[in-house]
């Protein structure tokens, strides 16, 4: 199976990766003959970033569920794996999805570059390159050279590009390079208006394309001509005004312009990238809390992050012939943007373009319906309904086991939080009425009714589940739960709500 290595850089990287995980969990798949295994590599110096921690936890649960349920169960059917699982080298990594940036924690940038050991001319050069002010963890104004990097690069890509250049010499990069095959692809997620992402994207891209010059790694040829896609997220959210913070909304556009100007020569201008997706939103909505990183940087999920995750699906649908590369240069570089049908402040499925709606409406609705059943009705059904009593049984012991009680419940709870956050955000994405009856679950969709058609409620779902499960064999109770609900929710949403794949 070919692999897609995803470099998720900075806070936006983690959040887009989270959205991708949700889409893959719901069964969204690329329309492609090839199946891809996803290998996420999160790069963020800000280890206490709550978005990063949430994404890591989510990926861990996804992995466990997917391993238990198998890859042909509909939900969770795209394999996600950690880099360490691919390697048999003695320098095995920890099994985390996070890239371990060395010597960042608790150190100032000046210590990282050995400022005190520099001679006077180099000190002067460093002073010029890294002039300006920022803040530290205690919200005190400091010189840029004195920034403590364990809260990230605080919107300073000039620092980020120095620190992230260590990636090319890391064990992670060696493992990535030695496992990279001709059919594999790379995707880089970054934002352009901050510090980590803006610096990380061109740095990672350059290190991959310059692999031939890296003596520490294997698999150079494949890597140099790798099929590389990227989404660069332009400003898409509003932020509270805080004169003490180094993060200012007014800087977003200036930083974006500066980065785009840099990309013009070093990313797009030299055809380094095969497929680049731009996404932005100038809607001035609910401002995010102005947190440079010292309070954990936990931002609500946003529609733009989900749309960015769809760029990854689109990239996987792009045929190999459109992603040809020679000597590190894309032969037919592709640039794409994302749009919606209607400029709505609260996006519903019908506000999306047809392709996007077809891609996600059915699958997200299936996972929403699955979660609704499990949280509101499963306890009434287990050991009573036929589908539950069929072998392998879904019984009380099963729901007390770790798979259900921890992995699945926690994942679905995060899924609900993700939807609620997107719904509460402005611009919002609110296609579901999560607390309503099943019939009113999807905004703008009414249940097909008639003289001889039954209502859609939990007992009717039990009927469908029992009918769907009749005579079927499943390898385990976990696989049965996932596969049976995937098939049944698809049938209900097709026949009753008129949703299409």
């Amino acid at each position: 199976m070919a692999r897609l290595y995803i470099f998720a850089i900075g806070g936006t990287g983690s959040r887009v990766l989270k959205s991708l995980t949700m889409l893959l969990a719901s069964g969204v798949k690329p329309n492609s003959e090839k199946n891809f295994e996803i290998v996420p590599i999160i790069i963020d110096p800000h280890k206490s970033n709550k978005d990063l921690k949430r994404t890591e936890r989510l990926l861990g649960n996804y992995q466990t569920i997917s391993n238990e349920a198998g890859l042909d169960s509909g939900f969770f059917s795209t394999k996600i794996t950690t880099l360490d699982r691919l390697t048999t080298s003695q320098n095995r990594l920890s099994g985390s999805f996070t890239f371990n940036l060395q010597e960042v924690g608790g150190r100032k940038f000046s210590e990282y570059i050995g400022f005190s050991q520099l001679d006077e001319p180099n000190k002067a050069l460093a002073d010029i390159l890294f002039s300006g002010k920022s803040i530290n963890k205690r919200h005190e104004e400091v010189n840029l050279l004195d920034v403590e990097m364990d809260i990230g690069f605080v919107g300073n890509p000039n620092i980020g590009s120095i620190v992230l250049n260590q990636v090319k010499d890391s064990q992670e990069f060696k493992d990535f390079a030695s496992n990279f095959n001709e059919d594999d692809r790379v995707f880089i997620i970054s934002s352009i208006f901050g510090g980590t992402g803006a610096a990380g994207f061109p740095t990672i891209l350059k290190n991959i394309r310059d692999a031939m010059n890296n003596r520490n790694i294997d698999g150079k040829g494949f890597l140099q001509d790798a099929k590389i896609g990227a989404v660069t997220v332009l400003p898409y959210f509003n932020i509270e005004k805080d004169s003490d913070s180094p993060i200012q909304k007014s800087d977003f556009i200036a930083k974006t312009k500066a980065a785009l100007y840099y990309y013009k020569d070093n990313v797009t201008g030299n055809n380094s990238i095969n497929s680049l997706y731009y996404i932005a939103d100038n809607y001035s909505g609910k401002p995010y809390k102005n947190d440079p990183g010292d309070n954990g940087q936990k931002n609500d999920a946003h529609f733009v992050e989900m749309a960015s995750a769809l760029a990854i699906i689109d990239f996987l649908e792009t045929p190999d012939s459109d992603l040809e590369t020679s000597e590190g240069k894309a032969l037919k570089p592709i640039y794409k943007e994302f749009g919606i049908r209607k400029d709505s402040s609260n996006i519903k499925f019908s506000d999306l373009e047809d392709y996007t709606e077809r891609k996600i409406a059915m699958r997200l609705s299936q996972l929403v319906l699955f979660r609704k059943y499990l949280t509101e009705h499963l306890s009434n059904a287990i050991e009573k309904e036929a589908w539950s009593n069929d072998s392998p049984e879904i019984n009380k012991k099963f729901i007390d086991d770790t798979f259900y009680r921890t992995n699945l419940s926690e994942f679905l709870s995060s899924f609900a939080d993700w939807l609620k956050e997107m719904s509460d955000n402005k611009r919002g994405f609110s296609p579901f009425n999560l607390d309503s009856t099943i019939e009113a679950l999807i905004e703008g969709r009414t249940v097909k009714s008639g003289w001889f058609t039954s209502r859609v409620d939990f007992p009717s779902m039990d009927n469908k589940l029992s009918k769907q499960g009749k005579g079927k064999t499943y390898s385990s109770a976990s696989q049965k739960l996932i596969k049976l609900f995937y098939d049944t929710t698809e049938e209900i949403l097709t026949s009753k709500f008129g949703l299409k794949n």
Binding site: K384, E385, A386, N389, P459, D462, S466, K467, K470
Partner: protein, 153 residues
């Protein structure tokens, strides 16, 4: 077939459920008191008992076949309906014959014989319902009631 049903209904013994005379009447002892050439009630009531039980089984397991009608209480409700219907059939047919004087006058038949035969029919229908709903080959075709049995409803 007549002997089969006769042995079935007389399994419990003619006494205390019903008398030998009632047994003769149900075997078809004719009104002229000459031979067993009258209506073979054992066979007719036996088949009707099977038919009623099968129809009600099919109604719960394959026609209604709903998650709302698959519980222990629903199994017992259908069992009760089957028992009552079969009791009434087996009670009313000989009772009407007695009321109409439509039997050999040498036989000594009473209402208690009719009740006894009704009970016998009801018990066999209950047993039959247990058997039908126990054998997996039938109930496994049901969407919602395939695990609903007398033993583990």
């Amino acid at each position: 077939m007549e002997e089969f049903f006769a042995s079935l209904y007389e399994w419990f013994g003619l006494n205390p459920l019903f008398s030998t005379d009632m047994g003769d009447q149900l075997r078809g002892w004719d009104i002229t008191c000459t031979d067993y050439i009258g209506t073979p009630w054992y066979v007719i009531i036996g088949w009707s008992m099977i038919a009623v039980t099968a129809v009600l089984y099919a109604l719960q397991y394959h026609i209604i076949d709903s998650s709302r009608w698959k519980n222990k209480t629903h199994w017992w409700l259908f069992a009760l309906i089957i028992v009552i219907l079969n009791f009434l059939i087996a009670f009313l047919i000989p009772y009407n014959s007695i009321q109409a004087g439509d039997y050999c006058n040498q036989l000594n038949l009473s209402v208690s014989d009719c009740i006894g035969f009704g009970l016998s029919n009801a018990v066999w229908s209950f047993i039959l319902f247990i058997i039908i709903t126990t054998i997996p080959v039938f109930r496994k075709l049901s969407n919602n009631c395939r695990h609903t049995t007398f033993w583990k409803p």
